[in-house]
């Protein structure tokens, strides 16, 4: 890809658009003719990060493949809010089968395309964190291990939202969900549990693994582009705030997706064949409280008598990520 040297411009590449760039260098989302793969009229909650993340990712993939794309969707909010009979919001060929089998269904679609000699048609599987890190994990790992030509996208909102905000293996420590009440010795979700699937994906040594956040659009789109330029199994884990499940204001969706990165709680990086090849360096580092404070699921930590020790443990998690992924660059 040819790159244009951008003379300094107000927003650089932080905002969605940049009117001073060549059309070819702009974000997909800035394009007047973007595909809006997930169209208006869907029933996601106000400010749903998952709806946003899905459009960001799929639009980018549509652009990367000249619209030769098929999507497979796991059960979950994204599926439910996008395709309640008689209305669908999807503008590309799309199939929903089950909660835990999106990766395998996608393998099947990819196999069909290969056997029919239509390798130009690319396949994406997508699901929530529950559909990915828990119930769909077997199929996901199988797809990885076989190196099937599928990009799997996990929209991580840190819980089973569609069924009423229960804990998943992606729910962070201390967070309240409807199955990890904010009561008892260790209120909210326990520490020392859960899994970080991007790292597990890397252990499969698949061609490409990346994390992204809806607050970093250009980064997200670049990662989708990179993923679509490769063949084989690829994994993209996108952080998507859920205002309903987290007890956050609907307008804070992107702010949260930004703070989680700037605190270090969610590292943005990419890896090829099991090795980290790029990382986002924190731009304005903030303490975790700033992120926690905006969410009712953490309100038991903050009130009048803040749970200092618990917050410190969360801060330590952020610091561990910063160290592990080198999120502060040289000084880290």
């Amino acid at each position: 890809m040819e790159t244009q040297i951008i003379k300094f411009y107000q927003t650089g590449s932080f905002a969605v658009g940049n009117r001073l760039l060549d059309e070819s260098q702009r974000s997909v989302q800035a394009n007047m003719r973007r595909s809006n793969s997930l169209n208006s009229g869907h029933r996601a909650c106000q400010g749903c990060g998952e709806a946003l993340g899905a459009r960001y990712a799929i639009d980018a993939a549509m652009q990367a493949t000249s619209n030769q794309l098929i999507a497979v969707n796991a059960t979950g909010c994204l599926e439910v809010f996008s395709t309640p009979y008689p209305e669908t919001s999807w503008q590309l060929p799309w199939i929903h089968s089950l909660f835990g089998n999106a990766a395998a269904v996608a393998t099947g679609v990819a196999a069909a395309m290969r056997v029919k000699g239509r390798q130009d048609v690319r396949v994406i599987a997508q699901g929530g964190d529950g559909g990915t890190t828990d119930i769909g994990f077997g199929c996901l790992s199988g797809m990885f291990e076989r190196n099937d030509d599928v990009l799997y996208i996990c929209y991580d909102n840190e819980g089973y939202m569609n069924t009423g905000v229960q804990r998943s293996s992606a729910t962070p420590p201390a967070a309240r969900t409807s199955t990890t009440a904010a009561i008892g010795e260790e209120p909210g979700n326990g520490f020392g549990q859960g899994k970080f699937v991007p790292a597990i994906a890397m252990a499969h040594e698949i061609p490409y693994v990346a994390t992204a956040s809806v607050a970093y659009l250009r980064d997200l789109e670049a990662k989708v582009h990179r993923a679509m330029s490769l063949r084989g199994a690829r994994y993209l884990h996108i952080f998507v705030p859920c205002p309903l499940g987290w007890g956050a204001a609907s307008e804070d969706t992107i702010r949260l997706a930004r703070l989680v990165v700037e605190t270090g709680l969610f590292p943005l990086f990419e890896a090829e064949h099991g090795e980290v090849t790029g990382r986002y360096q924190i731009r304005h580092r903030v303490p975790v409280e700033e992120y926690l404070r905006l969410q009712k699921r953490y309100s038991h930590l903050l009130g009048k008598r803040p749970a200092v020790a618990t917050i410190a443990r969360i801060q330590a998690m952020a610091e561990r990520n910063i160290r592990r992924y080198g999120l502060l660059g040289e000084e880290a």
Binding site: N67, Q68, L69, I70, V72, N73, E79, V80, S82, T83, P84, Y85, P86, T88, W90, Q91, L92, P93, W94, I95, H96, S97, L98, G100, N101, A104, V105, A106, T107, G108, V109, A110, A111, A112, M113, R114, V115, K116, V121, G138, C139, S141, G142, E145, R146
Partner: protein
């Protein structure tokens, strides 16, 4: 071409003649030989333009099949027993999405206790999944049914499960007449999906449907099976024109015309039953047999028509509706409502227990005298059972029944060692 081969290989060859495009499977006895053979054919290039995918579970197998089929590929998989249950959710889903997948079920019992031998519990557990389920009596029929299954599935846009008795058929070396590629090609046109995932005409498949339309969707699934009831005999007719033999009818009648006793069964046991029928006929007993090939859709009218002149019906099945009795028998009873005849249920051959001719002779004779219980467990070891039950009555014992039975029959159990 006549061949003396193992049932599994016969099926594998037949599937290969159907030009499948995607095959995905996960190993489980007694299905293994089928997919091993197919895997080899793909790898060797003998079966080209086909993807063979080694998946990580049966759930994935059916899921890959769903994806492949939805994307317009002719798709095949095979499983049995635990595997079928492990993919159960996807089995229903494939039918709901109207995907013409063909799957072999090498029928096998379901645990616990784990048991690799034949009965029909696995297939019958999926009877309401929306799949068409066809039972083969012989290896020849198993082979033929696969060819028919693809044609039927694709015509109706419904998945078809071909059930063949594990080991008894899958592992038996028998002579079969293997059709030629031309014959198969004549019978089975290339797959033209009714709806397909294609960027040229995008659609959303698999919507969430609420109370406002769900009943209609289910009724349409039912109506489709009723259509199959009409199409199966038609296709079987076409089949015999091209291949020169009868295969894949709704039912197979054997000396039922004037029979006072009609024995109803499915699968390979029909061979033994037919032998017994012949022997009893020779000694002047008015008996016949009706083999059900199409278990789903259930050919209720044909069954009724066949048995309406008889005095009694004996349903012999390799399955048990625990706490109720027969599964097939219950279905047959649907066909008999209003007819005044005796109906007997015989549970036989569970977990691979041999069904002996001698036992059948005795059974049918007692049936002829109307001395049979409503539900009979063929060749049950009553000593063991009674001893367990007796003890259970006195001491309510916890733990697995299986272990307790083994203890009673004198086999050392893991916990006993």
């Amino acid at each position: 071409m006549l061949k003396q081969i193992e049932g599994s290989h016969a099926v594998a060859e037949a599937v290969s003649l159907c030009r499948p495009e995607v095959i995905c499977a996960y190993p489980i006895s007694p299905q293994t030989h089928i997919v091993e053979a197919l895997g080899e054919m793909v790898k060797s290039g003998e079966l080209d333009r086909c993807e063979f995918i080694n998946v990580e579970s049966e759930f994935a197998a059916m899921s890959v099949a769903i994806g492949a089929s939805a994307a317009g590929a002719r798709t095949y998989t095979a499983t049995a027993s635990q595997g079928l249950l492990f993919m159960a959710e996807a089995v229903y889903n494939a039918a709901g999405l109207g995907l013409p997948i063909v799957m072999t079920d090498a029928n096998r019992a379901i645990g616990a206790p784990i048991n690799i031998w034949n009965d029909h519990s696995d297939a019958l557990s999926m009877r309401d999944s929306g799949w068409i389920q066809l039972f083969a009596e012989t290896n020849q029929e198993a082979l033929d049914l696969h060819i028919l299954a693809f044609r039927l599935a694709e015509e109706l846009s419904l998945p078809v499960m071909v059930c063949m008795d594990g080991f008894i058929l899958t592992h038996a070396y028998e002579r079969v007449d293997m059709p030629t590629q031309q014959q198969v090609d004549r019978f089975l046109p290339p797959y033209e999906p009714r709806q397909v995932l294609d960027p040229r005409e995008p659609v959303s498949i698999g919507a969430m449907v609420g109370p406002e339309a769900f009943s209609e969707v289910r009724y349409l699934a039912h109506a489709k099976q009723l259509q199959a009831l009409e199409r199966i005999p038609v296709l079987a007719g076409e089949f015999s024109t091209i291949f020169g033999r009868e295969s894949g009818r709704l039912v197979h009648r054997y000396r039922t015309e004037d029979a006072e006793t009609v024995v109803i069964a499915m699968g390979s046991v029909m061979g033994t039953i037919k032998d017994v029928v012949d022997e009893m006929r020779a000694s002047g007993v008015s008996i016949g047999a009706l083999g059900i090939c199409s278990y789903r859709p259930a050919p209720l009218a044909v069954i009724r028509e066949t048995v309406k002149g008889a005095r009694r019906v004996v349903v012999l099945e390799k399955s048990l509706a625990v706490g109720l009795g027969g599964i097939l028998a219950t279905d047959v009873r649907m066909a008999l409502s209003g007819l005044h005849l005796h109906g007997y249920t015989v549970i036989a051959g569970l977990g691979g227990r041999p069904i002996l001719k001698s036992s059948l002779h005795a059974l049918f004779e007692r049936a002829g005298r109307d001395e049979l219980e409503h539900v009979t467990f063929l060749d049950l070891n009553w000593d063991v059972v009674n001893r367990v039950l007796e003890r259970e009555r006195t001491t309510r014992r916890s733990g697995s029944i299986a272990e307790n039975v083994l203890r009673d029959v004198g086999v050392p159990t893991a916990s006993g060692v």
